[in-house]
Assembly symmetry: none
Homo-oligomer: 218 residues x 4
DNA sequence: CATGAATGAGACTTCATTCAT
DNA sequence: CATGAATGAAGTCTCATTCAT
């Protein structure tokens, strides 16, 4: 067991079964992040959780089960934190920019969670759909506010999400610095029809990136 | 062997060794496209190529080797064809739009090649870099022509490529129709700073999509 | 727990420990009957008994222990009931025919018990020996009465028992109807030396098949 | 590898693949005979055949596949040998008695093959059906010859086969001596309606039990 | 070159059983 | 007594890879 992951931390005062389950989930995050779903092995997850092979199956039916649960929890927690921190922002462009930048920074702060989000597309597509639904709310708002002039359909959502995830991946790979979040925000705002100058302003405005800790819900 | 794939076709008059190699590559395209790199098995590739598994290793060092070669060839051939068909276009926005739309349509016409391109990110990153270098030429041209106002750096390239591949994937999944190519072209042109009206014009202008056949080079 | 099995029924007014044990035995009957001894799992037995797997080992040393006990009780109860219902019959051929036919019908009425009897040969051979000892009494009587002319040794017993169990299995599989009991009775009586006409008469005489309920003894 | 089994012997001059396959089949006979189908493990079969685990799957799809093939070959070879040795016998009672006695003795001479035949009921029912079909020919002949007066239906066949296999099992367990074959022949002939004296005569007549070697066909 | 049998590591999964609570 | 989490051995099966022919 390499330290204590977020799930384990959250479960520290619960009964043993819950703690073991949490250790398995933290281990799964690490393994899925590093190897991807296909190459990840239940054995490796169990080893990292410091339990024997068979214990895994006491808690999860199979690899798919833990993968889905992990991906969902990761997405949910990040989304919830971002959302909670933006209740006071009304302008859709600002909301979008803020959410995107926070999303990327939070995910970078916990690189394994970031990779899980990126890779979950293959095995837990509902996670991306959930992220899209969060995004879509603000984009639709922007259309109503007259800020955006692009039709927000499934294809648009898909494309925009792929831009954000590409930026996240570049950050996680170390190919780019923290400016990536603003860069991709600016690019998306341009796509949405925000004039170049305004797009730059929204995307690069100083925001207070809350030093969110990953705080899981079980 | 299910018919004759592009590589096999190209090798039809060569000596046996070359033909076997080509059959293995066609088989690999099918298998990687269908199963992805991890889930693909050498045995399955060999079976589809109508050779025994040992023969595989006469021609390729391992699974990674054939994967890289296949992805590279696929990307190279598609890029070369697109490029060759655009020698007469000077306007960078027009070139980009044309290239993107043709790229997507060609890849859709040979869905397995399309999937290989998308999935190769994981196991043959140099393929994406090559595609990017093709794109970059036109984007840099656009900047020189004063059409684009975005700095064309590695991050920008990466993001734009992810948009195009997202559109291709949506097409291949059947989530969208042929309009996806123009849609994503328009979105990228907006990103690049082309005014909305002009972006729409470039992206949706009728072009003659050459009925390119996949024609491989060995 | 699917309803209430015979053992559970019998234990309904006893203290909890006894009831748990009975539930495990009823569950074991179901599982052994359905899956056979090898394929049966303690986990499955416990699940059906609505206890956790650890509880199993409070009551039984291992799988063999419950298997033996279940098989023994099943055989004992059926035999006792048949025997009790024949106190008024003196003729050995009639006794045999009656016992065989009732045995098969009772076991068919509770198919799981039937399968346990058949399959117990593999893991609880003493059960068959017990059934044989019941049979042997009547066959020896028949010899003394001059009805049977076959030496009643262990081999004979074994063969006759296999005939009866084959008939029971055919009934349980649904390969044959209720006439199987009389058919096999007739066949055995022929083996024992009863003239064909008499054998037929004994085997097919109407008897009142008591609607025995399975009533267990703990 | 404990010596050389019949299949291996037969394959001794064939190419390696055939020999390995034969070794696996001989090993499977041993393991199925000793443990039964359920308890038999592919690992154990491979170990006895002196090949590694994975080699098993080069030759057989799974445990069912080798079990079915082994059971079928065993039954076929024994039946063929018995049949070939009785071309000169016309009387059905004599044929039946001879076949039964030879069957038991041959199977006893290769105890593992005997156990496979007995146990194959559970996993390769077609084997028993095949044996029955051999038997049925002679029984039907007996009816036509006026020797037997019992209707030869599926249930009758099933019961008679169970008698013969019970005798074989008793022999294999060592519960009885060579007289078991004649004893069970006599019992079956009585079932079939042959008068007691004649049944004894047929069943105990001296026959020359060919010292058949198990000789397999691949 | 091509064959194809063999390998052996390793993946997934089940299960009888133990033991601290 | 009952719980139920944990164990670890064992089993099934796949697969990349090697090598003698």
């Amino acid at each position: 067991m390499s330290g204590e992951g977020p799930f384990t931390h959250q479960a520290r005062n619960q009964r043993k079964s819950v703690r073991t389950r949490a250790r398995l989930m933290d281990a799964a995050v690490e393994v899925f992040a590093r190897d991807g779903f296909e190459a990840a092995s239940v054995n490796e997850i169990a080893r990292r959780a410091d339990v024997v092979n068979g214990t895994f199956y006491v808690h999860f039916k199979d690899k798919d089960a833990i993968a889905a649960e992990v991906a969902f929890k990761v997405a949910y927690d990040i989304a919830r934190q971002i959302d909670g921190a933006m209740t006071h922002i009304d302008n859709a462009a600002e909301r979008f920019s803020c959410a995107t930048r926070q999303f990327i920074e939070i995910a970078c702060g916990q690189p394994q969670w970031g990779w899980v989000l990126i890779r979950s597309a293959g095995y837990a597509p509902e996670v991306h759909r959930q992220v899209e639904s969060y995004l879509r709310t603000d984009l639709a708002l922007g259309v109503r506010q007259g800020l955006f002039d692009l039709e927000i359909d499934a294809f648009t959502m898909d494309t925009i999400l792929s831009m954000i995830l590409a930026a996240l991946a570049a950050r996680l790979r170390g190919d780019t610095g923290p400016e990536a979040a603003s860069k991709v925000s600016e690019m998306v705002l341009r796509v949405l029809g925000v004039p170049a100058v305004a797009a730059k302003a929204f995307a690069w405005s100083p925001i207070e990136l809350q030093g969110f800790k990953i705080q899981t819900t079980l």
